[in-house]
Structures are given as structure tokens and as C-alpha cells.
Assembly symmetry: C2
Homo-oligomer: 338 residues x 2
Amino acid sequence: MKAGDLTTPALLADVAVLDHNLATMSAARPGPALRPHVKAFKTTALAARLAAIGHTGFCCATIREVEGMAAAGLGDDLLLANEVVDASRLGVLVRSGTARVTVAVDSSATIAAAAAGGVREVLVDVDVGMPRCGCDPADAGRIADEARAAGLEVRGVMGYEGHVQHEVDRQRRERRVARAMEDLTRAHSDVGGGVVSGGGTGSWDCNHVVTELQAGSFVLMDGDYARLDLPFREGLVLLTTVVSVSSRGHAVLDGGLKALAMDSGDPSLVGGGEVRFCSDEHTTVGGASWAVGDRVGLRPAHIDPTIAKHETLHLVDDAGAGGDAEVLESWSVDLRGW
Amino acid sequence: MKAGDLTTPALLADVAVLDHNLATMSAARPGPALRPHVKAFKTTALAARLAAIGHTGFCCATIREVEGMAAAGLGDDLLLANEVVDASRLGVLVRSGTARVTVAVDSSATIAAAAAGGVREVLVDVDVGMPRCGCDPADAGRIADEARAAGLEVRGVMGYEGHVQHEVDRQRRERRVARAMEDLTRAHSDVGGGVVSGGGTGSWDCNHVVTELQAGSFVLMDGDYARLDLPFREGLVLLTTVVSVSSRGHAVLDGGLKALAMDSGDPSLVGGGEVRFCSDEHTTVGGASWAVGDRVGLRPAHIDPTIAKHETLHLVDDAGAGGDAEVLESWSVDLRGW
């Protein structure tokens, strides 16, 4: 089947780019040194490809992702890298034996929730500079003691330097990653345990502290990360159809902001032309010539929330080939929702 | 059941606001003078409430929406207010008798698609100033002739003045709507037919030309439209849970840009405090005091694509009451996808 036979908008993943990105990352971070973050792609079929090359521990952002990974038989070692105040659904998985589940904690309340819900293993989440979750590095030891007192096994620490992932200047990025990881190292010495989890696509080769890298976006990349000097290539394309061509010089594609994440800006066109604006179900483009019925590809600015908008991710032989691409597999984006 | 018992993030719709907004619009645009746009809410249960007060003709933005409305028994008069190059799925509905389907056309190619697919009724879509779909007003008569020659019934014209919907200054908005509608009136005189379809929430009381208003966002409103002087109230809230509180003065909610549309900017907080930024699954907030486990509401900047991110829309007695709100009904957001 050709991509041109799909109902548009349709999300395409390029198999050659995917294989290249996985091989590149896996060479640098083999086996358990990479804990792929499924939030980037929310697709167990893609996670299974990572497991097949040795990355059998995964990072999740939601309870639904943990449940879905367990249901797909990918529950060897699942880290919910977020705090939760109700861990009962995670406890169900632990008790059923379908998954090993570790959850992040950064407070008395989240420790209590983990223990009450029936989760047995935790990481202490440490604030390494990004204003989001994580305890003060100076409190990490106390949090660990409290977790152990609640009967939990503390596997180690976690700290995500999300505030420096998109730093374009490489030397500056390296310095800022190192500074963030000093905090994590200090916390780790107070906490103990074998796991130091953190990092992401932007710090894939300059975070020398983590024992496991929590990267996800590298699998198919996006416009946001493409501005960095990374060896990973962009492999996600939203295939659309030209539904209208105006005498005023623009054309209209049948995919818009309900099919594309807009938090990092407009998508870009595969091939020539410029994106003028996105509406709910349309993208108005200009600067090139199209005919009604043409298939046109758009590269999203941010892949994680783009994939989360789709039921299906189609693996194709050449995502840049538009409607002529051969559809190799159609994967259910089965980890959506909460 | 209380909203506080729901898994968060959870999308809440306020029943009193919904009833107020529907009653206000329905008084001004009774029965067929309003063709509610289901793209705004993608929920047949909500559409059924509109049908129950006399609005039995609906506007759709996708083929999936048309199919879902037909399947829900709401297919009396469905307008797909977009061009399509493959109308075969619409033709299936027409032939089965489950829906009356009208589709927008603005070119020879889309006329051919409608005829080939088995759709029998069309509106000529006219460009009234927004750089998107629609033919040049001067071409509308020719498009209508071509459609009739292809065996299609031309019910009239459609023209969406989307470029002026969010014009904050009322007098300026009125003038710009009137100017856009001059083009539509001219096209209508060349096309014929009883239907002049267009307008939206922003032009609900200043578009004096359309025979049916294509409004949708008024049902629950959003931050974008709230800047206008409209009598409709905001009734959509994303209920979240505080999962982390930092000694640095911020707190973290468990709903982020995968649960909120970001094309029109950040959400706002119900109650005090300020939104600092949204991540995939988190919103970092500050300027007030919260404890881990607190339920906190966020009002999205744009409702249409926010609702499209959710499986369920919960109707509650008071969306501003957070976790204390009573859940009256839980509706499937059953018109998502393509």
C-alpha cells in the first residue's frame, strides 16, 4: 500500500531514519545505558523495536503509558518518571506481576502515595535546575530515608536537566549539563542506590553522569531538536492533501493544528514553499505551486505531542516521498490518554 | 461522583454555563438559523443537546465527524464545511440513508470528487477574505454551473469570515464582517439556492447576511474569544492535581500541553496564581500557595483543539469548584480523528 492511499492527514515515520537514529543512540548508550522515554512516541510497536536491540527498561510519563507497556509485554523495568498522588493503578501491575514498576518521589505525600498504592520501588527525583518536579538536592537524603522508612526500596536518583536540552551552543550546553549533574551527583551520594537516571536527546553525548539516559525524541526528531548539532535525523512527516488552491497564490492542506503540535511553532514543508498559518484542520501554504489532490508533507516542530494527536503511526520506506512512500506497517498509537 | 475522584488531567464542562450559552445563542438564532459546528466539541452527546433545542442541522470539519454524527442518529442535515478530494465515505452515508450530506466545493476537482463519491448536494465555498479555502467570489457562478452540470444540487453558498472573528473592537468587527458578507452576497446572487452559510461565534450578532450561523466555540468559550464583548461564558476547565511543590516557590500540575491546546497560548488558572510554562504532561505555576494533592483547574486558551486531545468530557455542576464539582455525565469525545 502506498501512503497516497491513506486517509489524510496521516502520520508517517521513516524506517531508514528510525533505524539510523536507534543504531546511533544504541552504539553510544547500549542496553540499560539507555532507558527510552515512551512519551515521545506512545507506541508499543516502536518500543518493541527498542527492546529488540537491548533497551528493555523504559521511561514513562503517565500511568496509562505504564499500563500499556505492561499489557504489551514490555514491562521488564518501567520507570514512571513523574510524581503521582494515587499509585493504586501502578500497584495493580506490581501485584499482578506483569511489570516491574518504579516511580519518582520528591515529597512525603508522593512517598505515602507510592507505599499506599502498592509500588515497592522508587527513585528520588531531584531538582537539577529546571523549575518543575524534584526535591532540593540538599533534601534528597532525607527523602530517601523517609521512603525506606515507609518500606520502599530506593533504587537511586533521577534528575532531568530539561532546561538545557535545547541550548543550541554546544559548549554552553555541555557546561550547563555538567553543572546540573553536579547537583544530581551530590544528591546521589546522600541517597545511594545503583541508578542515576536523567538526560535526554539534547544531552545524549554530554551527560557523563547518568547511568541511564531518559531520551525519547531522538527516535524521530523534530524541528526543535534539529537546531542542535545532533547526529539524529528528522523522520516524522504529516502527510496531507491539497484541498484548495487560491488565485491569490496560496494553497490549503487538509491537516492543521489538531494534527500537529503547535507549542514549538509552525511545522515546515517537505520540499519547497512556506507555511503561512495553521487552522484547526488546515494549513495554508504559499511560495510554490500545487494542484488540488497533491500530497504534501509537513514536518512538525515538536514530535511528542504531535504523535499523541494520532491514532495511527505509519512506518514507511521514505517519509519524504509523500504519497509515493510504501507503507510497511501501521502502528496503533496505543499509549495515549491518562 | 465528585470530579476529585476522576483520574487527572480531566476535562470538565460546566452545565450551567453550557445551558446559558446554548439558550443565549438559540434565542438569537433559533432552529435552522444556527448550524452548530461540531468541530468545537467533537462530542455527539453535546450535539444531541443542541438538536433537542431545535438545531438539527450541523456543521462538520472532517469526514469522521460526519460519520460519527450519522452513527449517533444526528444526520438530519450535515454540512461538511470543507473541501475533500475523496468523497467516497460520504457517499456511503448518502446511499445508506443514514445522513443527508452536503459538502463544500470550490474547484472543478472538488466538484468531481463530490460527484464521483456519491454526494448529491453541495454548497459553493466562497473566499470572503480569509486566506484559506473558497473560490474567488467572481467565480462562484461558474463553479455552481459546473456543479449542476455534474448532476449535483447546489443548495447555496458558504463563506467563513474567520479573519475577523477575533477582532476585539466591536465596531471594527462589524464593519469587517459586513465587508466580507458583501462578497458572499454577490456570489450568492450568481449561485442561487436557499442557503447562505457562514459566520461564527465572533460574528454571532453582527453577521446579518447568513441564513445559518456556523458557530461552535460559543458552547463553552475559551480565552481567545473571552477577550471579545460576547455574552457567552467560559465553561471548560482542565482539572489537574498538584504533584509537586518546590521550595523555590512554584508548584507542578499533572496536566500539560498534551492535554491543552497551545496554539493560542498558555492556559489560565482558575483562582489565584500564574501559569509559568507548560511541558508535555505538566504545568508549572507560581504566585500562590498549593499543597501536593490539591485539585487545580486550568482554562484553555482554545477549546476546539483542547477537547480533541481528550477521550472524555465530564459534565459537572460547577467547573470552577475543582475536585468538589459533582460529575453529572461523562461524555465520550467520539468525533476525534480523521
